[in-house]
Symmetry: C2
Subunit: 212 residues, 2 copies
């Protein structure tokens, strides 16, 4: 194998490991399988990574970053906030349907990290980043469509993330596209119901639920 800088070799190995994990699962992504995928020797792995777990930590960060970028890019122009939320969910679902192995791999990585003391803090951090992304989308969507949120935005972001988690779990389990669509319709309705026109005086009959 050609001479590579340490950073380059780490990146090559992380990408190779990701292909193995997508294909065969975290459990089978052994150091041997990874270096075979990357077409390099086993010793080269341990020349740039102290351990397999160290590599998995770097891989986890890479995956979270990639996922974040993909979903944030999906903010389309919409006339209503309901439509904006709905199409944001659709963009996520399209990603899920196009690469189910990736989402499954991410779930496995979360479980693995939770069981590994050295990596146990990563899932919490990843989750906070997702909530933050959701918050950005909700704020931006509200601004674009001229509404504001009637309940605290942090709370609503958590709800949106929970919806996408639930969507992911159920679709991975049954691959039922129409059930997924129904769930997204429901979620878009329920979230949009928490919006009020941006310039209106706060209603005396306060927020909670029901039409917009």
């Amino acid at each position: 194998m050609a001479r590579l800088s340490s950073a380059d070799r780490r990146a090559v190995l992380v990408r190779a490991a990701l292909r193995v994990i997508d294909r065969d699962g975290v459990y089978r992504a052994t150091t041997r399988a990874i270096v075979a995928e990357a077409e390099m020797s086993l010793a080269s792995f341990h020349y740039v990574f102290r351990s397999r777990d160290e590599m998995l930590g770097e891989l986890f960060a890479f995956v979270v970053r990639r996922e974040e970028e993909a979903t944030l890019a999906a903010l389309s122009s919409s006339v209503s906030i309901r439509q904006a939320v709905r199409s944001g969910l659709q963009a996520y679902f399209d990603l899920l349907a196009a690469h189910p192995e990736r989402e499954q791999a991410l779930q496995e990585l979360i479980q693995y990290a939770l069981r590994t003391p050295e990596l146990a803090a990563l899932p919490g951090a990843q989750y906070r980043r997702y909530v933050h992304s959701a918050q950005t989308m909700l704020e931006h969507g509200a601004e674009l469509t001229g509404v504001r949120w009637a309940i605290p935005i942090e709370q609503l972001s958590g709800v949106l993330v929970a919806f996408t988690d639930g969507l992911t779990m159920s679709w991975l389990a049954n691959r039922d596209d129409s059930a997924a669509a129904a769930l997204m319709e429901f979620a878009a309705d329920a979230i949009a119901a928490q919006s009020v026109p941006a310039r209106s005086i706060p209603a005396s009959d306060p927020p909670r639920e029901q039409p917009q």
Copy 2:
């Protein structure tokens, strides 16, 4: 070890395996660790189970059954349907908070089963059972509080399961009780909003959400 019937020995091993999985994860629940936990010899394991995967299949069925019974038992008497849904969610959450290892173990088992051809059908079946449980609860709750559902019950059951999945994922990641409570409030509102009084004439302003 005393002589046991095959069925008894299988049950003993399944329960021991469950303790190991709760404590150390599916990945570390090796045949050796399991028989050590059960205080029997390795050969006894293979006397009653053809393979480790065969045992895990039996264990998976056991866990799904246990989970189902626990949630179905939680249907309390409530005056409003919102309150009924809310307390149903609370009952599930109490279970989750009391035994987080169990839910984490279940997630791992699902991932493992999806990667194992012999067990790949189990998660789908488990998911259908959950949706069915949710449907039973929603039907029963509606009956008790004198309402009916404005959208198809299968659809609403899927939503409820998605909420519990999202609740599970987020709480396992951040252990934030108040965020979990906020999510449950939101879910109870959103689901109860799909109910109408049982004896009323269907509203002319029809029940949000598309028919399927």
